[in-house]
Subunit: 405 residues, 2 copies
């Protein structure tokens, strides 16, 4: 029996409340050997107190030694094995700019590129045009319409855009049109299987590309497009199906709202910052069982290589913990979706610190004095894969029946 099938049979409703508070890229590294990590350097009296009363552990969001992207990292946190549940690049790009995918959608990543008068690619990224120029280019093509489908085109960043074809009978079994080198023409779209849906979609997309080419052929440097990462909305059972949880997402950034929407969470709108997120949490407390709260800037400062800036972001979260505890959650988890050590200026594979506060169902955490990577190594939760996190939260919230008699 798969893990999710097992959880479907064991999960039950209850009145308990669960909060999953994600500081993006929380895990870190010391600046010098023997020194503290960003989390350990931060002054976090509230989280430290919770650590001594709750349980700590270290979590591999994808698997040991694997550096998670944001998509797989969050899927892992939400209980889905990211090595089993894949989100296509087109789908991820779309949810990343705030587009909620429907079951009628086929999404792709697009690049603006530069071609010569014979259509041969001179620059696969159109001189890396800035985002503003990308937006202007999208403005030139976004009203192209074809019968039977809705077409949504949106700028992403630099030369990259997202396109969604929405309508009945579409397929993502299409080849990529980027030849992956200059000196060649963009490829035609062909179906990758023999279904009428794939043939129809290929025909439709080729038609769209031809219209786009007509519209922008006199622009410079972006005068053509390539498409790749064809994907439909991923087939993921919702957290309600698996865990019988009514779940709400309180995130600022579109990417994380999008990922939450893929697993069936309700998106709480208009949350510009932590203060708004905490106010919304209080306002919505009686309407949901499970709350995903996302803080982005720990990752941002890590990517910047700003060790102390990352510590300060952690301190901002620590400062709102008392507001969260006033709501008396039955289970509160504070963790990350991956590590982003400032010293590496990038996501990393290092296991992520986990703090689980579950009054009434917690084992003692001997020798723990605060929240940090070294403390987590001594925690009762041990080291585990993120796919077990939702199971542990549900268990500690008394939302799982026993297995067998």
């Amino acid at each position: 029996m798969s893990d999710l099938d097992l959880l479907k049979t064991l999960s039950r409703t209850n009145t308990t409340k669960i909060v999953l508070f994600v500081m993006d890229g929380l895990g870190g590294l010391p600046q010098e050997a023997g020194g503290p990590t960003e989390l350990e350097a931060a002054l976090t009296p509230n989280l430290d107190r919770l650590a001594t009363q709750g349980m700590l552990g270290l979590m591999h969001t994808v698997d040991v030694g694997i550096t998670p992207g944001s998509g797989p990292g969050h899927l892992g946190l939400f209980g889905y094995d990211p090595l089993e549940y894949l989100i296509g690049r087109g789908a991820l790009e779309s949810v990343g700019i705030g587009e909620t995918l429907t079951d009628l959608d086929v999404a792709a990543r697009g690049n603006f590129c530069t071609v010569d008068h014979e259509g041969v690619i001179l620059d696969r990224r159109a001189g890396r045009i800035p985002t503003e120029e990308c937006a202007r280019m999208v403005g030139l093509i976004k009203d192209i319409s074809l019968p039977g489908v809705e077409i949504i085109v949106k700028p992403v960043r630099d030369y990259r855009f997202a396109v969604i074809f929405r309508g009945p009978g579409l397929s993502d079994r299409l080849n990529e049109t980027d030849p992956q080198r200059t000196g060649a023409k963009p490829l035609m779209v062909s179906p990758e299987d023999e279904t009428p849906e794939a043939r129809f979609t290929a025909h439709l997309v080729n038609e769209w590309i031809e219209r786009v080419a007509q519209r922008i052929k006199d622009q410079h440097p972006a005068n053509m497009v390539t498409l790749r990462g064809w994907s439909t909305k991923p087939a993921i059972p919702s957290v309600e199906e698996v865990f019988k949880l009514k779940a709400a997402a309180l995130a600022v950034y579109p990417m994380y709202k999008g990922l939450a929407s893929l697993v069936g969470m309700t998106l709480i709108p208009d949350l510009p910052d932590l203060d708004a997120q905490l106010s919304a949490l209080k306002r919505e407390w009686n309407s949901y069982d499970f709350f995903f709260v996302h803080h982005k800037y720990t990752d941002s400062r890590g990517e910047d290589g700003d060790f102390h800036g990352k510590s300060r972001e952690i301190e901002k979260v620590d400062a709102v913990i008392p507001r969260l505890l006033e709501l008396k959650p039955d289970v509160l988890v504070v963790t990350g979706d991956h590590s982003t050590p400032a010293t590496l200026k990038s996501h990393s594979w290092h296991p992520v610190p986990v703090l689980m506060y579950a009054p009434g169902t917690s084992r003692a955490n001997p020798d723990v004095t605060g929240f940090g990577e070294s403390q987590c190594l001594k925690g009762v939760l041990g080291q585990f894969r993120a796919t077990k996190l939702m199971t542990l939260m549900a268990a500690h919230a008394l939302r799982l029946e026993k297995y067998g008699a």
Copy 2:
């Protein structure tokens, strides 16, 4: 290669002796944050000394966050993945009342129920008749015989009974007859596949139900039966096949004898209490390689919510440890099949403390001063799934060859 296939190829005979001492529901929780668990509160000088000389760890008998029932919990302890080897409810109910299943058996759980004069169910549990009334009702139907099969009917508890159809050519691919609601008649039994065995068994069981209905139609409130949980003896390779171990079970309760019998252990009869279990262990020492000793009352006191009572049961086990050590076991494991914290009054998912004493093959257990959950967190065995326990015991008993050259 599956774990069991690997173990089959690696296991070898030896003269070493292994004892698996299970305190049912051993794992616990503190009564108040920071306090001791039941095991930590118990005075256990003998187990504490073994902990400093042996190795500790924490064990997930089914998987992280999953609360085990007794069946899956023990299958895990015996080395079988409880998510792979399933015991049907009928089979579990039968072994639970002391019936040893044979390869000819199809077992079901039965409910006595109340029907009106048209056969429509008024009460699916016949007013929850007491066990004595259930036994009287079973007395009215247990001599019903049909050609070609032996039929065994036994009371379980309240309105529940177990029935076993024993004979050649039977199948458990049958539907349940309980319509799961009042206001409907019990369903006929139908085959769930097209085999002659399933058709024959359905025919036979319908005939039996008709005879039962005739016999008890004038009784009150129990005047009809429903059947469900159809199951055969589970196909589990014996511990002798996998580990080349001659194994004996020394248990007081029928359920645990039954589970041991399913994996091919020899049941030592007439063991009313711990004293008798220890005497039998000494008496049988030269006749077997592996001894499963089961103590029930730690779980019972946990289910009662009796924290100190559970500690006292642990102390009773501690007191017999010297008698066990006189036999000089090569490997002694003291553990549980799951946790039953008195604070929760039920089985729980918390990992179970494990003590493995294996003079001659133990790694040092630094910083360990006794046996308890917090100490186990520091143990050299780490956290592991129960399916690895038998492998570890066999390894420490020098009963596994190396893998590869």
